[in-house]
Structures are given as structure tokens and as C-alpha cells.
């Protein structure tokens, strides 16, 4: 098949002619946005200068095409008034009339700064109110759902729970293990320098054991999981909201909290303590390697000293923190996921909020636990 090369319309142009009836601006060529292109600025400037003259005649009969953009530009040049003497083709006249019939838009009313401030405060207040309400309602709903499925064991969403453990737990092993090990190496290395000064080399086991198992392991795991799995939970629920999947679920009669939120909360509640133990183990391994290298403490010595330096209670604290952090992160992620409105901006904003809030809530819970468990688990 042959295609004929693009037939270029003639360029838009104008001329000032002196006719019997007076000075006349003659427009010709194709007056469309595409053909005007970069020429628009200079043409417009020249025509605006001309437009100021009184009693000017306008002849647009030689214009081949006139689109609405060009009509709007001409209308602006004429300062919103049809020139007294204007001749043009009927189809172009219709276009011009269409432009002329648009009501001049009133400028957006400017608001008083105090009103604007009051609006911002009101918005913040209502948002706070919404969050407090949401923070009470969602855990309540989840508790009711939990009681419901305990009474109806056939409806326990095993598949969803398993999928959630897989995606939020198993898939996080690599990154948590790697980061845990690096942190172990760093803590051990820095402590070793200080301990060597005092000849207290063997205390490295105590320092590493307590700090890693009790604090760093659970916190590291929580921060990584909040960033990784929390954000994905939020975004997933948000996209389901955008695609009306949540509405469809509700229409079929499935409770979105029971089918979507509960399995995620349970899944992360199960997976998180395991991730915490895994991260702590990786950090201890990293610490052991570093201690061996810096202080010459063999792996055997390290492992043998661990039980006396680190009472069993610490492991239970770690597991307990894992469950608590997991549940908190999943609840936060789902809360923000369900808040997402069907637009892309909201998706991005709530996902960020979810991660920030997830990490903050975890840290607050950790601080409370540190105070509550002050006397527990020290050798």
C-alpha cells in the first residue's frame, strides 16, 4: 500500500492591507493549534499591537481552517468583543460564536488568611478524630471476627493465612537475615574496641546477647517488615479499593475485614516472632564472627557463654515482642489500606503513612515494654 505524504496546510499568516473601506487585517492559512505552534507567540504579539487600533477591519475569509484554540486566541486579541467589521466563512463564524458564548469565568474568590487557617485546623481536627475512631474500630472488628471464626472453625481462612505467612514471612527471610548479620558485625566490632581497653573481652557475649535478642533483633525485624510487608499490604488493599474489588466482596456478602485483614494480622502475628528469632540468630552469628576476628573468642567459647549471659526469659520477650509487633504492623497497614480513596495520590500518601505509622507505633510499643520489663531477664 502506498501512503501519500502528509499534505501540509499553508502556514498561518496575516497582512495589513489598506483598502477603500479602511485598514484591513487579512488572515490566511491554517489557524490551528498544530499549525500555529511556536509561531503563536509572535503572531499574537503583532496582532495584539494591531488590535488596539480603532476602526480596523478584519478579513478572515482566506483562513483555511480555524480551530477552537485559534478562535480563543483571536477572541482574546479582540479583548472579548467581536470587531465591528469582520468577514469570515460561516463555519468559522459558528466556531467563533461558540467561543463568544462561553461565560467569562469569574476569578476564584480569594480567601481570607484566617479562614484558610481555620479550614486547615478543622481539617487536622477531623483527621485526628477519624484516626482515633479508626484505631478503635478496626481492632474491635478484628476481635469480633476472630471470635466468630473460633466459633465457626470451618470458616477459618487457612489459605489466606498461609499465603500471608509466605509473602510477609518467608519472603522476608533473606533481607532480615542479611541486615541482622551486618548489624551483629557492627555492634560486636564497636563493642570490641571499647572492651579491649578495659580487658573485659568476654563481656562481648553479654553485650551482644542482651542487646541483640532483647532489643535489636525485634526492632530490626519490625522496621524491615513494616517497610517491606506493611507497605505491600497497604498498596494491595488500596488497589483492590480502586478496582472496586472491595465493593464486589461486600456485595457478595464477604466481610473484607474477615477475609482480607484478619488473615494478614494472624499471618504476620505467626510469622513475625519467627522472623525475630531468625534475625537475632543472624545478628548473633555476625557478632560471633566479628568477636572471633577482633577478640579471638572462638565460636565454641561464645556459644558456651551464651546461656549464662542470656537467661531464657529474653527469648520469650523476643517472641512476645514479635507477636505484638507483627499484629501492630499488620493492623496499621490494613487500616491505612482501607482508608485509600480511589485515586493514585491517595494510594501513594497512605502507603507512606502506613510505613511511617507502622514503625512509630512499633517503637512506642517497644519503649513501653522496655519500661514494663525493666527487671526481667537480666543475669
Amino acid at each position: 500500500m502506498t501512503t501519500v505524504p502528509d499534505r501540509r496546510p499553508s502556514a498561518p499568516a496575516f497582512e495589513l492591507e489598506t483598502r477603500d473601506e479602511g485598514a484591513t487585517v487579512v488572515l490566511s492559512g491554517s489557524w490551528t493549534l498544530q499549525d500555529l505552534g511556536p509561531r503563536l507567540r509572535s503572531l499574537r504579539k503583532a496582532l495584539v499591537a494591531l488590535g488596539k487600533r480603532q476602526g480596523l477591519q478584519w478579513d478572515l475569509r482566506a483562513v483555511e481552517r480555524l480551530d477552537s484554540a485559534a478562535a480563543v486566541v483571536l477572541w482574546q486579541i479582540w479583548r472579548g468583543q467581536r470587531p465591528q467589521s469582520l468577514s469570515l466563512r460561516p463555519e468559522h463564524d459558528r466556531m467563533l460564536q461558540r467561543v463568544a458564548s462561553q461565560p467569562a469565568r469569574a476569578a476564584r474568590p480569594r480567601r481570607h488568611p484566617l479562614t484558610a487557617l481555620a479550614d486547615v485546623l478543622a481539617m487536622l481536627g477531623s483527621e485526628l478524630h477519624e484516626h482515633v475512631r479508626g484505631a478503635l474500630i478496626l481492632p474491635g472488628e478484628i476481635t469480633l471476627d476472630l471470635l466468630y471464626i473460633l466459633r465457626h472453625p470451618a470458616q477459618i481462612p487457612w489459605r489466606e493465612i498461609s499465603a500471608s505467612i509466605h509473602s510477609a514471612g518467608f519472603r522476608a527471610l533473606m533481607i532480615t537475615g542479611f541486615v541482622g548479620m551486618l548489624i551483629g558485625v557492627v555492634v560486636s566490632y564497636l563493642s570490641a574496641i571499647e572492651l579491649q581497653l578495659y580487658g573485659a573481652d568476654t563481656y562481648i557475649v553479654d553485650i551482644l546477647g542482651i542487646s541483640v535478642v532483647r532489643e535489636l533483633g525485634p526492632l530490626l525485624a519490625a522496621i524491615l517488615v513494616a517497610g517491606r510487608s506493611g507497605s505491600s499490604m497497604t498498596a494491595h488493599l488500596g488497589v483492590m479499593r480502586m478496582d472496586q474489588e472491595l465493593d464486589a466482596m461486600a456485595a457478595i456478602g464477604i466481610s473484607p475485614t474477615r477475609r482480607l485483614v484478619l488473615p494478614r494480622v494472624l499471618g504476620l502475628g505467626i510469622a513475625m516472632p519467627l522472623i525475630v528469632l531468625w534475625t537475632s540468630a543472624a545478628a548473633l552469628l555476625g557478632g560471633m564472627i566479628s568477636a572471633n576476628h577482633e577478640l579471638g573468642i572462638s565460636f565454641g567459647q561464645f556459644v558456651a557463654a551464651l546461656p549464662s549471659a542470656l537467661p531464657m526469659a529474653n527469648y520469650w520477650i523476643a517472641v512476645g515482642k514479635g507477636v505484638l509487633f507483627g499484629v501492630l504492623i499488620a493492623l496499621t497497614a490494613c487500616y491505612f489500606g482501607l482508608r485509600i480513596r480511589p485515586n493514585s495520590e491517595s494510594l501513594g500518601r497512605e502507603t507512606t503513612n502506613s510505613v511511617v505509622a507502622g514503625i512509630t507505633i512499633t517503637l512506642i510499643a517497644d519503649a513501653v515494654l522496655a519500661i514494663v520489663l525493666q527487671g526481667v531477664g537480666y543475669p
Binding site: P5, R7, L33, Q34, R94, M95, V99, Q102, R105, E345
Partner: protein, 258 residues
């Protein structure tokens, strides 16, 4: 009417994995015509539309836009060519974080040719053209009904005064009256500009009212193309079923006498 191809598909083959979507599709869209494209669900109409503006490239064969082969131009020239096309996507594809006004103004602002007052006037003109009022300007896409989303999307497609308009199911989701309004809108646009339209539709009313020619995409190729009478005479099972079904007959009876 001149007979140059504004848009030409030349022996286009498309495959997704092992699945053949288009097997030797050749098509020429003439200047200032409205070409209807019909085909069953999943027959590759939307893929073809995406190829027409270079969003996808065929496996082999070529697509020419305004006489320029898309596979032989750089990205900049391709963008220039694409600027001359208005596209209405099937789902509207409005930017969900922008208001109706900003959605329509976006292509105009991107071009940096017009000042804000001119853009404002143009936007309300386009809104008026598609039957919406300036009161809808500040609404967000999430607050609009399906039919209104289509209209705003059409207004945005028209924003840059395109020479070629590609419409993917423009009347689906519109009530019959809005559908008729849409038909008269396209007709009036054609009158004032040399507008070429490719229209994908299942709506026989719209096709009959608007199209100069209809192309039928079935069995991975164009099985019939021509004015309505030619396509009606086609023996291909899909074309026959499409135009001789009960609904189509109702639509054809009132309007078309062969």
C-alpha cells in the same frame, strides 16, 4: 474528499507469546472519514489502536501516521505525530489525582503555547462541547459517573485540536440520548475541522449514524471493509452475526434502507 491515508497499517502481525493476535492486518484510514472498527471481544481492537499511536509496536509490518512510518522516526518526531492524535481510552484513563479542569488543561499546559486565561476558556469550551458544564470543572474523577468520565476523556482527547481522533468504545456506558449527542458532536467537529476518526464500537446505532466505512476484525485479520452496504453483504460469520442480529436489525431498520 481526498484519498490520502492519514493512518495506514501495512501487513501488521502481532503475537503475544505463542498467541497470534493480528495476522496480516492492512488498513488505510482516509482523511476526513470516520472508520468504524468492529470485532469480537479479545479480537485485538484495542491492541491495534495502541499500535496506531505507537504505544505498542507490531511484530512485523508497519504503521504510518500522517504519512510517516512510526518505526523509522525518533522518539521526538513520534511524540510530535502523537500530539496530532486525540485518543479516548476505553476506561477514560483520567488522571485520578487531578480535577476535571486540570485533566483537560494538562495537554494544553504541557504544550506551553497558551496562557492560563486562554486555557480556561478552551477547557470550558471543550466541556460545553461534550455536554458538561463548567460547574463540573472542580470535581475529581472519582466523583464522576461512568458516562461523565467518558465525556471528560473525550474533552481531553479534543484539547489539542487533533487531526486524528481514536475512540475506543466512546458510547459504551452512555445513555442513548448522550450517545446521540456524541454522534452529533463528532459530526460537527468533522464539519469545522478536517477531522479523521477511528471508532471502535459495538454500538450499531453509532456505527450506522457516523461511519463512512466499517472494518470488521475477525480471525486475526480484516475480513470485511467498506461502506455499510458492503459490510452487510459480507458472508463472514462474525460480520453476518454482528449486523444481522436482532438488536442490529432494529437499529438498521429505522435508519438504513438498502
Amino acid at each position: 474528499m481526498s484519498r490520502d491515508c492519514v493512518l495506514a497499517l501495512d501487513h501488521v502481525h502481532t503475537r503475544y507469546g505463542g498467541e497470534v493476535v493480528h495476522d496480516d492486518v492492512t488498513l488505510c484510514v482516509w482523511r476526513n472519514e470516520v472508520l468504524g472498527l468492529v470485532g469480537g471481544s479479545g479480537s485485538g481492537k484495542t491492541t491495534l489502536l495502541r499500535q496506531m499511536i505507537g504505544l505498542e509496536h507490531p511484530h512485523s509490518g508497519s504503521v504510518s501516521l500522517f504519512g510517516t512510518r512510526l518505526d523509522r522516526v525518533g522518539p521526538r518526531r513520534e511524540r510530535d505525530l502523537r500530539d496530532r492524535c486525540g485518543v479516548l481510552f476505553q476506561g477514560g484513563a483520567l488522571f485520578s489525582s487531578l480535577t476535571v479542569f486540570d485533566n483537560i488543561a494538562l495537554p494544553l499546559r504541557e504544550k506551553r503555547l497558551l496562557d492560563e486565561p486562554a486555557i480556561a476558556r478552551l477547557v470550558s469550551l471543550k466541556l460545553d462541547m461534550v455536554g458538561l458544564s463548567w460547574r463540573d470543572e472542580s470535581r475529581m474523577p472519582a466523583e464522576l459517573s461512568g458516562g461523565m468520565i467518558k465525556r471528560v476523556a473525550l474533552a481531553r482527547a479534543l484539547a489539542l485540536e487533533p487531526g486524528l481522533l481514536l475512540l475506543d468504545e466512546p458510547t459504551s456506558g452512555l445513555d442513548p440520548m448522550s450517545g446521540e449527542g456524541f454522534v452529533s458532536l463528532i459530526e460537527s467537529l468533522r464539519e469545522s475541522l478536517e477531522l479523521t476518526v477511528v471508532l471502535i464500537s459495538h454500538d450499531v446505532d453509532t456505527l450506522v449514524d457516523l461511519c463512512d466505512r466499517i472494518a470488521v476484525l475477525a480471525d486475526h485479520r480484516i475480513v470485511a471493509i467498506g461502506p455499510l452496504a458492503d459490510v452487510l453483504a459480507s458472508e463472514h460469520p462474525f460480520a453476518h452475526g454482528f449486523f444481522h442480529g436482532r438488536h442490529a436489525q432494529g437499529a438498521l431498520r429505522g435508519r438504513y434502507r438498502s
